[in-house]
């Protein structure tokens, strides 16, 4: 069948449930009740602190075939996922379904567990490095599922993704099981992903290298959700968890993109006192924030809130009063972690609150602007952020589709060409965000506006911004790079890209050698 994004979706996929094809950003109406974790009653005097991971895994009742989860707030510094998988493999478990919030570069070490049958299925936001390549070239027992952050929260809270045991890297934890992410040697900031897993998993194991005596303050994940605590020597390498202060780019093309993006925000129609935004952590997005700051100071306009993963420069805007409050699911650098710890207007919140399409109103629904990147975009405004020029999984869907669906004006900022690759093309390799939820594409050679947004186009034209037809942009790119040959792929599906609501937006096919 052909879904509403124009993609061919097979009637069945091996190791995947009944297919619901993508039908539009808000086509699916949920019915039923939320899932919930098993009820347990710990009596006074129960001790949660166990001596080893083995003991905790045994106590958790983990069995072959179950689903386990991890959060990725420690990013490339994370040691917990590899450490736990090593222990689980050594204990002889098999056929597990691995459902972390995302995979990062540090997870290449997991490949042997896929090869030996310890892990037989993966559900995540994305993967990189050798693991991404492995998941692109190997069909697992179940189809690999790639979900946006909001889609994962929906799958967990609706019961579609049931987590049997959640292993939470806990930067600070007391003996009762209260956890936060802002203290300890491996402080990572917000625990926005872990919060959802903690509420819905049947068994929650906190793995910590900072066991606090007395009562922790503040608490992000409360003790009543936590079964066991395992002290270990280190949960993560701070150098991989947070980069130092973000340097503002000096790349002239990024600066041009940033300037154009700030001008689009200023003139598209939603820039007014109390507007709201999400800006990514890419070089051009961060620089756009810098230009926007000058414009907002000039006009004495403040933003009511900013959301998303939070990079340090946004915390400066918070301190200056240019943004009134930040909602943070993931703190991108040391500055953001410090700000979350010290500034009460920098709020930690979970992914359900941020982006779940099936609740009573996620924050993305209240965005005026979101600025996002792209690996490639096409003439239908579809965006790919997950497969590279070889067709290999090398990124994560993240909150891209969530913020795009929610925001009044979704801006994609990207160079028109990268190396020899045209970034505006006839057809993206993989659709991660459907074009009908994208409004403006800003490139260094011109700006395209979705045909359904005549209002935005008029506003940008009035501001004398270089508005062009998307096909003109594509032709300009092709005139420089040449028209690319289509990527040769096989007819073997390896992964499903689910939309926020669990419908199938696209399928990733194994590339030809």
């Amino acid at each position: 069948m052909i879904n509403a994004a124009g993609r061919f979706i097979p009637d069945t996929l091996p190791g995947y449930r009944d297919i619901r094809p993508y039908a539009g950003p808000f086509a699916t109406v949920p019915d039923g009740r939320r899932a919930g974790q098993k009820i347990k009653a710990f009596r006074p005097g129960t001790s949660k602190v166990l001596a080893s991971l083995e003991e905790a895994i045994e106590a958790s009742g983990l069995k072959d075939g179950m689903t386990i989860s991890f959060h990725h707030a420690l990013r490339n510094g994370d040691r917990v996922m590899n450490m736990v998988m090593q222990t689980i493999a050594a204990m002889g478990f098999r056929n597990l379904r691995l459902a972390p919030s995302s995979f990062l570069d540090a997870n290449d070490d997991l490949i042997p567990y896929f090869e030996s049958g310890v892990i037989v299925a993966a559900q995540c936001s994305g993967a990189r490095g050798r693991l991404g390549a492995y998941l692109t070239t190997h069909r697992l027992q179940e189809m690999t599922i790639l979900r946006p952050h909001g889609g994962r929260a929906r799958a967990i809270t609706s019961g579609e993704l049931h987590i049997d045991v959640a292993f939470l890297a806990a930067p600070a934890c007391d003996r009762m099981g209260n956890i936060n992410g802002i203290e300890g040697p491996a402080a990572c900031g917000s625990l926005g992903y872990a919060m959802v897993d903690a509420r819905y998993a049947d068994t929650v194991i906190a793995v910590t290298d900072h066991l606090v005596e007395g009562a922790l303050c503040p608490v992000s994940i409360p003790q009543h959700l936590v079964d066991y605590i395992v002290p270990v020597s280190s949960i993560g390498d701070p150098r991989g968890i947070s980069s130092g202060a973000l340097r503002i780019t000096t790349n002239p093309r990024d600066l041009l993109l940033a300037k154009l993006t700030a001008r689009v925000i200023e003139t598209a129609g939603y820039y007014r006192e109390g507007f709201s935004m999400q800006l990514g952590a890419g070089a051009a997005s961060v620089a756009a924030g810098r230009y926007l700051r000058d414009i907002m100071l000039r006009d004495r306009i403040t933003a009511s809130f900013a959301i998303g993963g939070i990079p340090g420069p946004f915390c400066d805007l918070l301190d200056e009063g240019i943004i009134q409050t930040l909602f943070d699911t993931q703190s991108f650098d040391a500055r953001a972690i410090q700000s979350l710890r010290d500034n009460p207007r920098h709020q930690e919140y979970d992914v359900d609150h941020y982006a779940n399409p099936w609740n009573k109103g996620a924050m993305v629904n209240h965005l005026d602007y979101v600025v996002l990147g792209a690996t490639e975009v096409d003439v239908d405004f579809n965006v790919n952020v997950i497969t590279d020029s070889h067709g290999t999984i090398m990124g994560a869907v993240g909150g891209h589709p969530d913020a795009s669906a929610g925001a009044r004006c979704t801006i994609i900022t990207t160079p028109l060409i990268r190396g020899r690759l045209p970034i505006v093309t006839d057809r993206v390799q993989t659709i991660c965000t459907p074009g009908e939820t994208v409004d403006v594409i800003v490139t260094d050679r011109g700006i395209a506006v979705h045909p359904s947004r005549e209002d935005l186009r008029e506003n940008l034209m009035k501001a004398r911004l270089p508005v062009m037809d998307i096909k003109e942009l594509r032709d300009l790119a092709y005139s420089i790079t040449g028209e690319p040959d289509p990527l040769p792929i096989t007819d073997e599906p390896v992964a499903v890209v689910e939309y926020r609501d669990g419908t199938v937006l696209d399928v990733i096919w194994k590339p030809q050698d």
Binding site: S389, G419, L421, I480, G482, P484, P488
Partner: protein
């Protein structure tokens, strides 16, 4: 028919450049090209055809060509292959500098 006098190269491994090495080929074997490129799948055909065309225009029948592409655009590829051919075919006393 032009003859390749010596192995020669032109270009660099900087991003958006291309390094082209040509060497005498076995007589009768024709032009043998090996290509490494991050955009092999999208533009491999095109890169190879530009290089082949320039060799044919220089009337070179047999050559071994090794190409390491870093995402160069057509004009860069043409400049590099022209220079590599000039270096490889110049008579010994007029060998252009291999800068």
């Amino acid at each position: 028919m032009a003859l390749i006098q010596r192995p020669a190269q032109a270009g660099t491994l900087e991003s958006s450049d291309i390094l082209i090495m040509i060497a005498p080929g076995e007589p009768g074997k024709g032009i043998v090209i090996s290509l490494e490129s991050p955009v092999q799948k999208q533009f491999g055909r095109r890169i190879t055809s530009i290089v082949t065309r320039h060799l044919q225009q220089a009337d070179i029948q047999d050559a071994e060509v090794h190409i390491q592409d870093r995402g160069a655009l057509d004009y860069a590829i043409e400049a590099r292959i022209e220079t590599a051919i000039a270096r490889a075919t110049a008579p010994a006393d007029k060998e252009p500098g291999n800068a």
